[in-house]
Symmetry: C2
Subunit: 213 residues, 2 copies
C-alpha cells in the first residue's frame, strides 16, 4: 500500500485537524504543501482532488477524501487499534457523535469567524470587522457556557477519555489563544483546564511542528 498523503496548508485549521489525528495514531504520512497565498487550492490539479477548492485532501492508495472531519472519523475508525483510541466506546458512542456535532454545528462557526477576524486579518493588514467580532464573541461565549457546565461533570467533552470530539477543537483554539478571545476560555475554569490539557498533548505539539518546516 502506498504511503498516506495529506495535501494541505500548515496554517489551515482543517489541515491541522487531520494532522492532529495522524499524530495521535502514530501514522506516518507525506505532507504536500498547498500554497494558498497563490490560490493553488482553487486551480487544477488541486480541484480534481477537492471540488470545493479547499484543503486538506487525504490520499491513501485509491482512497481520496476531503472534509477534515470525515478524514479524522475514517482514520479513527479504520485504525482503531493504533495509537490513541479516539472514538467513544460502547454505550458512550452516541454521546461521542453528539459532541462531535456540537463542535461542527455550534463551535466551528463563531470560532472560525473569530480566527479570521482576530488572527488572520491582522496578519495581512486587512481591517477588522468589529461588529462581526462582537457578534461572534457573544455566540462563542454562549457555547463555552455549555462547555463549562459539561466539563464540570466530565473531564473531556464526550466521554472519560480524549476523543475526536475534543481533538476537532484544537486548531481553532490554538489560533484563538493568541488573540483577545483567549479571555473567553480563561474566564471559565473547567474550559480553561480542558484547553490547557488538550493543547499540551504531545501529538498536537508534534502536529504543530509542520509549521517549522
Amino acid at each position: 500500500m502506498a504511503a498516506m498523503k495529506v495535501r494541505g496548508n500548515a496554517f489551515s485549521t482543517a489541515t491541522m485537524r487531520v494532522l492532529a489525528c495522524l499524530r495521535e495514531k502514530g501514522l506516518e504520512f507525506q505532507f504536500v504543501p498547498v500554497d494558498m497565498s497563490t490560490g493553488e487550492q482553487k486551480k487544477e490539479p488541486h480541484l480534481s482532488f477537492h471540488p470545493f477548492g479547499q484543503v486538506p485532501v487525504f490520499e491513501h492508495g485509491d482512497l481520496k477524501l476531503f472534509e477534515s472531519r470525515a478524514i479524522t472519523k475514517y482514520i479513527a475508525h479504520e485504525y482503531a487499534d493504533k495509537g490513541t483510541q479516539l472514538e467513544c466506546q460502547g454505550a458512550a458512542m452516541p454521546i461521542g457523535l453528539q459532541w462531535m456535532e456540537v463542535e461542527a454545528q455550534q463551535f466551528e462557526s463563531p470560532a472560525s469567524k473569530l480566527v479570521w477576524e482576530l488572527a488572520v486579518k491582522p496578519m495581512y493588514g486587512i481591517p477588522v470587522d468589529e461588529a462581526a467580532v462582537e457578534e461572534n464573541t457573544a455566540k462563542l461565549a454562549k457555547v463555552l457556557d455549555v462547555y463549562e457546565s459539561r466539563l464540570v461533570e466530565s473531564k473531556y467533552l464526550a466521554c472519560d477519555s480524549f476523543t475526536l470530539a475534543d481533538m476537532h477543537h484544537l486548531p481553532n483554539i490554538d489560533f484563538l489563544m493568541g488573540t483577545k478571545a483567549k479571555a473567553l476560555f480563561d474566564s471559565r475554569p473547567h474550559v480553561s483546564a480542558w484547553v490547557a490539557h488538550i493543547t499540551a498533548r504531545p501529538a498536537w505539539v508534534k502536529a504543530l511542528t509542520i509549521r517549522n518546516n
Copy 2:
C-alpha cells in the same frame, strides 16, 4: 425498553431530519411538540434536555441525545438491520462520511439562511434581507455545481443507494422548493432528478404528515 420519544417542532428542519430517519427505519416513536412560537425551547424543562435551547431532542430509556445529525447517525448505526440501510457499506464507508460532512459544512449554511430569508421571514411578515439572499444564493449555486458533477457519476451523493448523506438534505430542500431558490435545483438536471427522487420517498412523505396533526 421505553418508547422512543422526539421532542421537536414539525417546522424545524433539524426535527424533520430525525423524523425522516425514524420513518426510513420503520421505528415507532412518540412525538412531543415543542412550541417555538412561545420560546418553549429556551426555557426549562426543555433546557435540561438541550443545553443550547434548540430542537430536537431524542430520548430512548436512559439515552438523551441532541444534534439532529448525531441522532440520525446513532439510529442508522444502532438499527442497521431495520428498514432502509442508511449507511454506506464496506469500502464506501469513508465516502459516506465525506458527503455527510459536505452537507453539514457546505450545504447547510447557505441553504438554511435561504430557508430563513425566503420561507420563514415571509410567513411572519419580517422584511427580507436581499443582500443575504444574494450572497447565499451564490454560495448555494456553487455547492450545487459540485453536486451536479457528482450526480452525473453516482445516482446518490455518497454511494449507489440512498443514505444519510442524501437524507440530511431533505428538510432544507423541502422548504426551498417552495421559494424562488427552487430554480437553483431545477436548472441542474442531475440535481433536479435527485431532488425529485429523494423527496418522493414514502418515508419522507410520511414524515411530513406530522404537520397535519
